[in-house]
């Protein structure tokens, strides 16, 4: 059983995971309508809210309207990613812990964290991802910035780092369902805290700015990638973002192993 065949097996499995879950989702065609409508409504509302801060040519935390659009765009992109991969999988994790379906996952010769994180792919978040990307492009162009290849690359890298951090936050939260039974509202807490990412982090008072760059790295989810694309990011924040992404991934793994040890009562 070489590493290559294991990777091949994982690759084929993930491909089958996603094709089967797409097939399952397509059984409900009305969903597409509902999802697109909901996405448009949310975006309209967010744009409206943002506009309240820019009434008469004002700025928010030193950001212009167009630059703030880029931040909102990345937030929308990440929200779409949550709907596509994070919410369906990690919502299932919670359900499976409660129903005992987790046992079946643990008995498969596939790493349980990978299974639980990638098992389902929901196509309904894709329109939102597209809208988010569009907003990023629109905001960048309107703000007059002309990002070169480096800026785009760093921007993409920081978005990936943000995605990793977001995934880890969600996963850690879902994994705590092994200890806490009713965690409906835990995902709500995450959602409402992450909603802070719609606005540039400099718009917040210093205490919150500190929180959003350390304990709850919202800044690295949206603001720093936006800065990278607009060519405003400092090397320090880029490095910090990458380090944080790595740490959060390692942390999520460590927590999962702890959670499994608890689930299988390894310690008691």
């Amino acid at each position: 059983m070489g590493a290559a065949s294991t990777i091949g097996r994982y690759g084929r499995s993930i491909a089958r995971f996603w094709s089967s879950s797409l097939a399952a989702e397509m059984e409900y065609q009305l969903n597409l309508l509902i999802e697109v409508a909901a996405t448009l409504m949310t975006l309209a509302g967010s744009l409206f809210t943002l506009s309240l801060f820019f009434g008469h040519g004002q700025q928010l935390g030193g950001w212009s309207w167009d630059a703030a659009l880029v931040v909102l765009g990345i937030y929308t992109l990440l929200n779409g990613f949550s709907s596509t991969l994070l919410r369906p999988n990690l919502g299932n994790l919670v359900k499976q812990v409660q129903s005992g379906g987790l046992d079946f996952v643990l008995l498969k010769p596939i790493d349980s964290q990978i299974w639980l994180s990638l098992r389902t792919l929901s196509p309904w978040g894709l329109p939102e991802m597209v809208l988010g990307l569009t907003l990023v492009v629109v905001g960048t162009i309107r703000s007059g910035a002309r990002p070169d290849a480096t800026a785009l690359l760093t921007g993409g890298l920081m978005v990936l780092a943000g995605v990793t951090i977001l995934y880890s936050l969600w996963f850690v939260l879902a994994a705590t369902s092994i200890w806490f039974v009713k965690i409906w509202n835990a995902t709500e807490v995450l959602r409402s805290l992450l909603a802070a990412g719609q606005f540039p982090v400099s718009a917040y008072p210093p205490a919150l700015r500190l929180l959003f760059t350390t304990l709850l790295p919202v800044a690295f989810l949206t603001t720093v990638p936006a800065e990278a694309i607009l060519g405003l990011a400092s090397g320090g924040s880029l490095l910090a973002g990458l380090v944080l992404a790595g740490l959060s991934l390692v942390g999520s793994r460590a927590l999962w192993r702890l959670a499994l040890r608890n689930y299988t009562s390894a310690s008691s």
Binding site: S13, S20, A23, G101, D103, L107, I110, T264, S265
Partner: protein
């Protein structure tokens, strides 16, 4: 070389208790009362490859806990266990490929899709190529008598068909050891019989070791030449079912059909009255007094018909569980 071996296997849990009412709620909120429950105590047994073994016991005896420890889902609190040369709790990929766990009324198939889609996922997960998977699917489908059901969404199948499809998904990778936890739970009589036929057939064809828990005696009597009786977490019996009944019930059942109805008190002194409905009476009589008692019954009572047989296994075991202990003769 045994394929399953357990030495001193134990498992205990900490459970919190709460008094009812508002006062109890607040007390529970502030300070939890915790006690230790020993679910499984010091189990010792070995199982050879190809055996079909039944775990018998009332609800809460520790059967499911034992099965979970054997499959690696639960770490033992004490003792050692080895399955297929691996320590189950480590859940190594090699080990997981050689076992399977089927739980009655719990499913792993995707609800909205036909079973075939779930089977394709499992094929990829276990590293089967498409041709091999297709071959095994058709073999299992033939054994389980599933045809076009495989193309219908799982939610549209009956419980019996769903369990069959679950079995297919669980056996696609041809495990050497099958753990079955109450597999016939909730199935109708025909479906239960079909599953038993299939399990016997599978064991014959592939020489798989089967460990089965059930509280349906019919499953055990039909499939398991060897029975492990677990009661309150301990192993009471490890042997055949006949040995168990001999050990527990050195009595035989006498069925009488009488000419007239008689009150229950009329039967005292002959043996234990099991049931008395109208003119049909069932008595339990010690084996060594059997001939004497039968003679007296025929002489004293207006007997139209008399039949002597072994009491149903269900009753024996059921009585044991109700009493909570085995009385040694």
């Amino acid at each position: 070389m045994p394929i399953v071996s357990a030495r001193g296997l134990s498992r205990s849990f900490r459970v919190s208790e709460k008094d009812p009412g508002l006062a109890g709620t607040l007390r529970h909120f502030l300070k939890r009362k915790v006690r230790t429950v020993e679910a499984v105590r010091d189990l010792d047994f070995t199982i050879e490859p190809g055996e079909m073994v039944g775990f018998l016991g009332p609800n809460g005896a520790g059967k499911t806990t034992t099965l979970k420890m054997l499959s690696g889902l639960l770490h033992p609190s004490g003792g050692r266990v080895e399955v297929a040369g691996h320590s189950p709790a480590r859940r190594e990929a090699e080990f997981l490929r050689r076992i399977t766990l089927v739980m009655g009324q719990k499913q792993q198939l995707i609800w909205d899709l036909p079973p075939l889609d779930s089977l394709r996922v499992n094929a990829a997960v276990y590293g089967l190529d498409d041709r091999e998977a297709a071959r095994r699917i058709s073999e299992l489908a033939e054994m389980l008598e599933l045809g076009e059901e495989l193309h219908r969404p799982v939610r549209k199948l009956s419980l019996g068909q769903r369990m069959k499809a679950e079995l297919m998904a669980a056996l696609l990778h041809r495990p050497e050891v099958l753990f079955l936890d109450e597999p016939t739970l909730g199935l109708d009589v025909n479906a239960q019989a079909a599953m038993r036929r299939f399990l016997a057939d599978y064991n014959r064809r592939h020489g798989a070791t089967v460990l089965l828990t059930s509280h349906y005696m019919a499953d055990i009597t039909a499939l398991c030449p060897r029975v492990l009786l677990i009661h309150a977490g301990s192993l009471f019996h490890d042997g055949s079912l006949e040995q168990l009944t001999q050990r527990l019930a050195p009595r035989r059942e006498v069925r009488l059909e009488l000419a007239d109805t008689l009150p229950a008190s009329a039967f005292s002194g002959y043996g234990e009255l099991e049931s008395c409905s109208g003119r049909d009476v069932r008595l339990l009589v010690d084996r060594d007094r059997l001939t004497t008692v039968v003679g007296r019954l025929l002489a004293d009572l207006p007997v139209l018909d008399l039949e002597v047989r072994d009491p149903p296994v269900e009753d024996i075991i059921g009585r044991l569980f109700r009493q909570g202990s085995i009385e040694q003769p």
